[in-house]
Each structure stands twice: as structure tokens, then as C-alpha cells.
């Protein structure tokens, strides 16, 4: 895991491709992980076929939360909004290629939770979105 951590996580953390804030946007949502203060805000634009055309995140937090946001957004560009609604925990873990304990899992899944709460248009982001 040593090297994976270094290669995947730290690279995307240090040099994210999708950092930013889209204004205007079609979807937006923000949430924090109460246990560690990680914060992620995601903005999305969709095309006329309801596919994700652009995505950006901003926020702060640990390498895992920020890198997984970057990896997640990279992976959904061009995907139909409907498909994004059904992404799950394993999807993110596959992107990261890491086995994580329960605490770091929350960091890794924060961006997926924010993304799904945004596309579902929910008022809040319950943990059940990523279980």
C-alpha cells in the first residue's frame, strides 16, 4: 500500500485536474465530514442529453478526500446523470485502488456522497447514499 498511496493519492492531491468552481452550473452541493473537517463542494454542468460535460470540486481536507474527489470527477465526465446516481462505494475504492479502514473510508467517500446528494437534489447528504 505504501507505493499506491504515494502514486495515486499524493499525485492527485498535489496536482488535481478538476479543482475549481463552475459558475454557472447545473448542479452543486457541498458537505463536510464531521469527524475530521474534510470539506468538498462539487459543481457540475450537463449537456442537452443530461450527460456530465464539466465538473469541478473545491474544498480542503486530507489527501484521500481531495484525491478521491479528483479521481471521481475525472471518471464521470461524459457519463449520463442517471448512471452517476447509481455509483457506489466500490466504484470509488476501485478508482483509488486502496483498502481503507472505516475512518478513512469516510474521507474517500465524501466526494461521492456530495456528488450524489447534488444530482438527486437532496437537502442533505445522508451516509446511506454511499452504503
Amino acid at each position: 500500500m505504501d507505493d499506491l498511496y504515494r502514486e495515486v493519492i499524493i499525485e492527485h492531491y498535489k496536482n488535481p485536474s478538476y479543482r475549481g468552481y463552475l459558475d454557472p452550473h447545473d448542479y452543486a452541493f457541498a458537505d463536510s465530514n464531521p469527524l475530521c473537517g474534510d470539506h468538498i463542494e462539487i459543481t457540475l454542468r450537463v449537456d442537452d442529453q443530461n450527460r456530465i460535460s464539466q465538473a469541478a470540486f473545491q474544498g480542503h481536507g486530507c489527501a484521500i478526500s481531495q484525491a478521491s474527489a479528483d479521481l471521481l470527477l475525472e471518471s464521470i465526465i461524459g457519463k449520463p446523470l442517471e448512471e452517476v446516481k447509481h455509483l457506489d462505494k466500490d466504484y470509488v475504492l476501485d478508482l483509488l485502488g486502496l483498502d481503507l479502514g472505516p475512518v478513512r473510508l469516510k474521507c474517500a467517500l465524501l466526494s461521492l456522497k456530495v456528488l450524489k446528494a447534488g444530482v438527486y437534489g437532496l437537502g442533505e447528504a445522508p451516509d446511506s447514499l454511499v452504503e
Binding site: 463536510s32 464531521p34 479502514g101 472505516p102 475512518v103
Partner: protein, 408 residues
Amino acid sequence: MTFDVTQIRADFPILQREVRPGVPVVYLDSTATAQKPLAVIQAMDDYYRRSNANIHRGVHTLAEEATALYEQAREKIARFINAPSARQIIYTRNTTESINLVAYSWARANLQPGDLVILTEMEHHSNLVPWHMLAMERDIRLEFIPVTENGLLDLEAYHKLLEQTPKLVAFTHMSNVLGTINPAAEIIRLAHQAGAVTLLDGAQSVPHFAVDVQALEVDFLAFSAHKMCGPTGIGVLYGKADLLEAMPPFLGGGDMIREVKLRSFKPNALPHKFEAGTPAIAEAIGFGAAIDYLSRVGMKNIAAHEHEITQYTLERLEEIPGVKLFGPSAEHKGGVAAFTLEGVHPHDVAQILDQDGIAVRAGHHCAQPLHEKFHIPATSRASFYLYSTKEEVDRLVDGIYKVKKYFG
């Protein structure tokens, strides 16, 4: 698994104990607290030797192991009572705290002066005093389903009480004195028809037979680990998700919060909202091991075994002149036999039995109003669990004859 009581007894180190040299223990006090199988003792021992750490907030290996073990236990408990989700399992200290949690959080948010709470005359103090305190503070009305002469709830009287549209019906699934197993599903169904929320005191039912919260449709269920082969210091409140979600927090502190500012806080999601501070981590893990153990033996097997022992006990005790048994016949009854012996105080019965290693309890068993109803200050009580045997009942009977000789 076939049920073999000799094999089961070998799992419980304390049952090998001699109370005094040559006097093996005859433990007939499982209603007060159950003995613990080796698997439970070792799960906690292992935890302290290998994985001890504070949970939820830790990134390091020990903290992650501890968190995983703690939360796995919650999943086991959820499955054991067929809860829809583990987040409906709130860890508390015991049944008593579980009931107080409902009284402080749900009831204080939902009950107004003049509102009616229905209890029964056979409640344990744990399901009386929290409502006394609320009644004093809030002017809540309390009414009681009466207990009939043969130890059953008077359901006709219950029907009448329901006409007064109670807000809450809180009652014991099984009496810790009479042994009566109450028709919980029916009582809950009628309460719901009347618009009331229900709280089931499962301290004596969850340990002894399969309890399915979804089949019962119960709103709240309270029980204690220590009465079901688990450790002291941990119990559970189960609640329906919408009720728990809507309830204000009870104890404030670490872990139950989502965010804290200097002058305000946001509560955490379920179940953490109700678990403030460092919880009973080792105890949760021990509770999980107890659930595994009981599931392996099988709740059906346990209930059948206890039924057989109880029936035998009632037969043998009824033979003894001067013994008066309380509670219904074996068909309505769990593994409890409370009795008086004419002319001898129950404390003296228990003390003289103890000379032969026989452990029974004497007193009001935290059910003073029930004893008052039957015009006795105390009873002696023998109670059983999966490890109890007919030979132990025989020793009890011999012991009672000895008491009679003393006081004869």
C-alpha cells in the same frame, strides 16, 4: 445444533466453581444476571490484549480494528432482533438507561400535561420510576393494566384504558417475578389502533426467546447484555427509525455531535446521536460474542429447554407443603419460579439454601408494587437459563426441605 446441556455447561467456567470446598454452585439466579460463556470472556480479553483503542475518530490500525469490532457487534445485535438497520441499535448501559433515554428524549419532546401513559402492575422499577419522575415534572397521567390473581394482564381492563387515548403504552414482555410472558404483539397492535407509541421492556424476553421487532411492530425495545450471557455495562435501545430521527439528543458530548461551535452544536446521525463520550467498547464486543453464542445454540432450543425445566420445577415445588407459587401456569411462563414458604422469610430461605451452594434471589426483585398487590413484602425466586438442569432443581427442592426442618 442439538441441544446438550452438559456440553453447554462446559462453556461456562463459573459453573465449575465450588462456593466452598466440596460445595459446587447451583446457580438459580439468571433472571438477575446470566453467567458468561468462555467465548464472551475471551472476546473482551482479546480486545484488551490486541486491539484496544478509542473508536470512530482514529486513523491508526488499533483504532480501526476497535471501530470495526464495535460496529460489527451492532450489526449482530440488529440481526438478532431483526431490526431493519444497525443504526437503530443504540448502545446504552442497560435496560434501565434505555427506558430513561425514551423518557428523557422522546417523552419530554412529545408528551404534554394531562397526557396518558399506560403501564402495568407487573413492571420492574426500571419501567416505573422514569415515568414517576416524568409525571411529577410534567403532570403526565399514569394508568396501569391490572394483574389478575393468576398473574396475567387483565386485557379487558386494557381495552377500557385505551379509550382514554394514551400517548404511550410501556410494558414488560416477561415479568421478572411471575414469569408471565405477555401477549406483546396484541398489546402493541391495540395500542397503535388507539394512536399510542409502544415501549417494550425486553430485559427478560430477548435473552430467553426469539424477539422480532418487525413482526411485533414495536416502536421501542429495551434490553441488557448482562442478562443474555453478555457483559455488564452495556444494553440496547432499539427504536423505529423515524422516531429516533425526530428525537432530540439525550446526553451531550463527544461522538454524538456533527459539529460543535463555542455556543452551539449540530447532532450527529443515528446511532451516534445518542452515544455521547467514549462508549463501552469492550462490552459491545463482548455483547457481540454473546449474540454469536446464543445464535449458535439457537433461541428455539433455549426456550424449549427452559420450558422443560420450568414445568419440572413447578411440579416439584407444588409438592412441598407450605410453598406458595406466584404467577401463571407453565404454558404462559418463562423460566422463573417465585415462591414463599410459610413461616419463613425469603431472605432466610435464600441464606440457608446458600449454605448448600444454591443461589436464589430473595426480596421484591425490583417489583415492589407487584408484591404489594399480592400482599407480601418479598418472595424467593429461582430462575433458569440454557445451562440449568433438573438435577439443580432437585437440589433446590432438597434445600427447601432443609429450611423447613430448621424453622420447623
